[in-house]
Amino acid sequence: MRYLPLTETDRSAMLATIGVDSVDALFRDVPEQARLKGPIAGLSNHMGELAVERHLSRLAAKNVTASSVPFFIGGGAYKHHVPASVDQTLLRGEFLTSYTPYQPEVTQGTLQYLFEFQTQVALLTGMDVANASMYDGATGTAEAVLMAARINKRNKVILSGGLHPHYREVVETTCGVMGMDIRAQAPDWKNAEDLTALIDGETACIVVQTPSLFGHLRDFTALCDAAHAKGTLVIVVVTEVVSLGLLTPPGEMGADIVVCEGQSIGNGLNFGGPYVGLFATRDKYVRQMPGRLCGQTVDADGKRGFVLTLSTREQHIRREKATSNICTNSGLCALAFTIHLSLLGEQGLTKLARVNHANAVTLADKLEAVKGVKIVNDGFFNEFTVKLPKKAAKVLSKLAERGILAGVPVSRFYPEMDGLEDLLLVASTEVNSLEDMDALVRGLEEVL
């Protein structure tokens, strides 16, 4: 077995040192009836690398990859080009096979990139401070709601109808079990909801998203002012983080907590995970934050260095009084984010955002020319909602048969709800060529 260095000679010598006859003797505390006598039946035995590659390559070949077709699916995960140097650099064993940086003298590499990551996230979101990452945007949003409730000791939560349904469900599940009163609004595909009227003195926080699930862009400045007047916190969610290269950051609108899905920068689609949750807030709330924080300090010689800090918020110190139970988070995905964003830099990120928007505008213009197709949005970044003259799920299937992955039917998120069947979410990023767009237009003309 190629991963197991002990030889039979080693094992015998080691058993002699220990003073037992067999490995079985080391398992003597296991109840007799629970000790298995041999390998578990019904499972295959060990395989060489070639055999494993064949097996998994066959499974991989059954999937249609995003790069192989005209591809317009978004809905909270986006197909972007990730430079080769991102993956090649994070594959360095010193990053890949290191643990959480508990011994700072021998993990300055991890700690410094976390410090850079935190800074990048704070800059992007326009906030004071960010943590070292959450599992993903959805879990980060639930943690943000719990954090808001810790800050103002209130129990009511208002979720915008523009919030991604998975995020809404994770909040309902995670915060619901804590007995919080969660008021989720109806899907706001027309961008018409007015949340200000719902805020009262009991409201812990209000959760909004821009661009929304339906691609609408919102300025929450007035909402933040109204919420703050009632002591309510505003949590702004961003599922397409590239948009922050172009649009006003939530921090400038007055957000108290910003949660983003960071997948778009540095991370592939990976069928939904692992991704990376970005979590940022104001300085005054830092001690109520969940998750790990990296901080700057000095070493015994006075040289700058980095450590994990404010750990008294965390489970391994505070146990049941911790701000969260999170331990392992998304370290390597955060590194991918940091390397990609460093490659982009100011100029690259801004340009990438403009290219995304330009492609989406071009596609929207082309689609509007198709008979019966309407673009719902006034404004959008790289994703918008299309109203079709037929059921979107059926149109999508027919296009998939033609080798076009056209988007996400809104009914996939809301199968029970009337009036949403003809809505399709369509995203266009820098990876889409004009030929891809024309293929979608032709496909739609054929199936409608």
Partner: protein, 530 residues
Amino acid sequence: MAMNNQGRDSTPHAVTVDGEFVTFTGNKALQQEEALIFELDNPGAVGVDLEAPVTTKTRLGGVKTRASVGLPSLAEPDVVRHYTRLSQKNFAIDTTMYPLGSCTMKHNPRLNEKMARLPGFSDIHPLQPVETVQGALELIDQLAHWLKTLTGMPAIAMSPGAGAHGELCGLMSIHAALDARGESHRRRVLVPESAHGTNPATAAFCGFTVDTIPAEENGRVSVEAVKAKLGDDVACIMLTNPNTCGLFEPQIREIADAVHAAGGYFYCDGANYNAIVGRVRPADLGVDAMHINLHKTFSTPHGGGGPGSGPVVLSDALAPYAPLPFVVHGKNGFDLVEQAADAKGAKPFGRLKGFHGQMGMFVRALAYILSHGADGLRQVASDAVLNANYVLASLKDVMSASFDGPCMHEALFDDRFLKGTGVTPLDFAKAMIDEGYHPMTMYFPLVVHGALLIEPTETESKQTLDRFIATMRHLAEKAKAGDLAHFQASPRLTPRKRLDETQAARKPVLRWVKPAVPASAPVGVAQAAE
């Protein structure tokens, strides 16, 4: 004058401070000082070439755009060099033995990485039509089958993002099952004092109260201590097995039976599953729910703190409450149940994560599992336990073992052997760093004083263990010989010496801020935080 072997003067020409060789740059050959990426800003440079936008027309609906972000600009070579240099400041399994107890730092096979990067897995979107991702769903189904069969459990929830998230999944399943039984008054969770911090934190996160069970003298939990805490308000016990002292709980069946008889459930923390995989099935121990850290037992890389993956196996009693989404066998192949209405009789407690779980980790874990097979996984547990016992047997005369052997996959020592030396477990650990080893877990578990928890894993050779043992013996003897100064000044050879954690917490500096005046002093020295 010092001479080299060619008779030339080899006296250092650089300045020395306190006898230490100092270079002009602050670099020490392979050890490079490295500024923050923000301090390397090279305005005008760019690391990614993008084509010009196809149109300048915008459709932003009147919302404002931002003036600037404040990111630095660098070309690709400088970015690659920056992060490569940072990588060289880390210990990792690839470069050294990393015997961090409770963390299972085993070799991470590169085949796993190669497989996870197959475009058929890495370049598919979670919301593609299910007919275009049949291979992905089949892979999830195959991994689920392996994990269920290895543990003997009938059901599994695949979506949790890490171990603590798996604990949350297990406890929420229990919460839902109790509510369904009309026993919502059961809100007390029993947690042994040796438990990982995540256990009580998770219980509190679900709205349960935590009741601590004291450990016995022998490091185990006794059935009597559990029975003394049972009552009709108990929701479950959270028990780690093997426990955090590296010991198998011999009364585990009796504990499970007592908890079940009292109407509670048995949540097993599976962080230490590596000790028993393929040799013991948790189902045979009476477990109702157990998370499996794919980033421990099944070798998906830790990556400096994630991503992990924490699938949870469930008993028949808890299976109906497993969260959305899950994979089922449908009429036309595999299907994905994403809505409670489609769950056919099951009552999912909700959703824990966006999309469908940590697919990238599933691929890696299945590559590892297929490589080992049922026979190899059994050997994994055997060798992990053998290695730990070999370390225990080879060190117990110079270091103080907390409990009599045999242990399972990790060996626990405490600081009695350092008594009177002035050397703390922290000092001891820092001295190990200069010798080229990542320290063991320190000061955990809390049930012994000054814990030193060593988990070698099965992927260390006897040669490596023998060198490690010799080093530990050397350090233990050095401590006993009274060389306190050596330990207190350790580590000396790392890129940074001991860091001031008190200052970091007292005056938190959590991000870089552009200085008012550009710094001109050598990197890393004059820019130290004031």
